[in-house]
């Protein structure tokens, strides 16, 4: 892991928790950190190039914007993992897909433009994969969602 100087750390925190919704957001950050706007832009660009910042933008509440999503866990035999992963990853609505320890060895998330679309895609996937076990575990309630990290 790389280390950050004090300005980078403050900048990363501000960019996550307190991004200015203003015409010139980086200029406002420059004022707050008392360094020139050009330097702020340079630092943010570098953080993005280095992959520290994935993106600056809105984190949508998917349900509120009309999308349907769920987590799915499945069990496939070891020899069928690669094929299953290939099928799962081919869907645009799959954002996360992991091999995990435990009874269910593959866990992925699927988002679709409607509940009906979600159900239809799941049926299609299940038909292609033929998993030994298949568990659809949609969210009933969000207890906590805090994806920003303080440095």
């Amino acid at each position: 892991m790389r280390t950050f100087d004090a300005i980078d750390s403050q900048l990363i925190n501000l960019l996550q928790h307190d991004f200015p919704l203003a015409k010139e957001p980086y200029k406002e950050l420059a004022t707050r950190l008392d360094i020139p706007e050009d330097e702020i832009l340079g630092r943010v660009r570098r953080l993005k190039t280095d992959g520290v910042i994935r993106e600056i933008g809105p984190i949508f509440n998917l349900k509120m914007i009309g999308l349907a999503s769920t987590l799915i866990a499945l069990r496939v035999p070891e020899h069928a993992v690669d094929r299953a992963v290939q099928i799962i990853n081919s869907y645009a609505g799959v954002t996360h897909n992991y091999e995990r320890e435990g009874t269910y060895n593959i866990w992925f998330t699927l988002t679709a433009s409607s509940e009906e679309g979600l159900a239809a895609t799941l049926e299609e996937m299940k038909g292609k994969i033929h998993p030994l076990r298949w568990l659809v575990v949609p969210v009933k309630r969000v207890l906590k969602l805090k994806t920003n990290f303080t440095l």
Partner: protein
């Protein structure tokens, strides 16, 4: 900003445009506003209202946690009695190491109904947090779903849906 009759269509266009993210330039909202045929001020007002109404949870940088020191994480599935979920929620709210907490559908063959994503600087640190939650709530029925391989992790492709 738009007539109620085409509210959904207008909203979709704004959402798709905002979803592409903000450029790292002096006036980043200008490009987006021009594309939407509006002004920066109006666009900023729309973003504020989307936040106020819960469509946007937060507007800002998404950081790759592994790049800022949180090199280890574990997904934990818990079996928490329905009537104790509020208590569980209060425990995880107080822990900065927990980024996500969800109550999810459970089944007779998989009784775990609550999931938490825990981040730490090491595996031991993650396990320490699990232990702290377990002691605080006095529930030992949980399972650790450590990642063995990451097959896909990317931003949602709205255009592809």
């Amino acid at each position: 900003m738009h007539a109620k009759s085409n509210y959904k269509a207008a909203d979709d266009r704004i959402i798709r445009c905002l979803h592409r993210g903000l450029a790292i330039e002096s006036r980043p909202f200008l490009t987006l506003a021009q594309e939407l045929g509006t002004t920066e001020d109006e666009l900023l007002e729309v973003i504020r209202s989307l936040i106020a109404n819960g469509f946007i949870r937060r507007y800002g940088a998404v950081v790759r946690h592994e790049k800022v020191g949180y090199s280890s994480n574990v997904l934990v599935a818990w079996n928490i009695p329905e009537e104790r979920i509020d208590e569980f929620e209060a425990v995880i709210q107080g822990l900065t190491e927990v980024s996500h907490g969800y109550e999810r559908v459970s089944y007779p063959e998989w009784r775990y109904n609550v999931y938490t994503m825990i981040h730490g600087h090491s595996k031991d640190e993650c396990l320490g947090v699990v232990e702290r939650i377990s002691s605080a709530i006095e529930i030992k029925e949980y399972t650790l779903l450590f990642t063995k391989r990451e097959f896909k992790k990317r931003k949602l492709d709205l255009e592809g849906l």
